[in-house]
């Protein structure tokens, strides 16, 4: 099995982008890749406990998707961690802006990470942005 490293930066709060990011993270992780997800900007609030997962849609596809039995993006992110050992890092800057503490986040998230460290760890990997 060929192992590679995938770095996924998620900053959008829209349903379509969060869904695709979660699909890439989960399938990438369960396929034997080392997956690191960096969550910042409009994406981070979904990972705060009690926020809920109702994301605004961008277009027609999102509207259609809402009516289908598509695996929820938060469930896919969690499976990326549980089944594929992915690491989901909250951006420390976004944490500060939101005045959020590590204990406010979903328990499957890793410790907050700064952008400099993430970029250093992501060197040489596949890079995906959503």
């Amino acid at each position: 099995m060929r192992l590679s490293k995938m770095s996924i930066m998620v900053i959008s709060g829209s349903l379509e982008r969060l869904q695709m990011a979660a699909m890439v993270a989960s399938v990438g992780a369960v396929s034997g890749n080392k997956v690191m997800v960096f969550v910042s900007m409009n994406a981070l609030p979904y990972f705060i406990k009690g926020h809920g997962a109702h994301a605004p849609i961008e277009g027609d596809f999102g509207k259609i998707m809402e009516g289908k039995n598509v695996p929820p993006f938060m469930e896919l992110f969690e499976k990326a961690v549980e089944l594929g050992n992915a690491k989901i890092y909250p951006c420390s800057m976004a944490m500060d802006v939101l005045s959020a503490k590590p204990g406010d986040l979903e328990p499957y998230l890793a410790e907050p990470l700064g952008l400099t460290k993430f970029l250093s760890d992501a060197a040489g990997s596949q890079a995906w942005t959503f």
Binding site: M1, R2, M23, S26, V27, V30, S31, G32, K68, N69, V70, P71, L76, K79, L83
Partner: protein, 76 residues
């Protein structure tokens, strides 16, 4: 003796059937077979791709009345 388990993932979309398979394959013994039922067209190519990549064995892939029956043997 090897067992066979059916995973009914009909009605769920990508990557739901694959995730159901992965969650279940952790729970069975080496040599056991899992049959995934899926109405998601991508499953018939995605699941064999995953199986080959991680080192399990494909047993069969058939389609009956719009339902894919994908049988996988746990190999490790």
């Amino acid at each position: 003796m090897a067992q066979k388990k059916v995973i009914d993932a009909r009605g769920t979309f990508c990557p739901g059937p694959l995730m159901e398979l992965i969650a279940n394959i952790k729970l069975v013994n080496v040599g056991d077979e899992l049959e995934v039922l899926s109405t998601d067209q991508g499953s018939q190519s995605d699941i064999p791709e995953w199986v080959n990549k991680v080192g399990h064995q494909m047993v069969s892939t058939t389609e009956q009345n719009g339902v894919w029956h994908i049988v996988v043997r746990k190999a490790k």
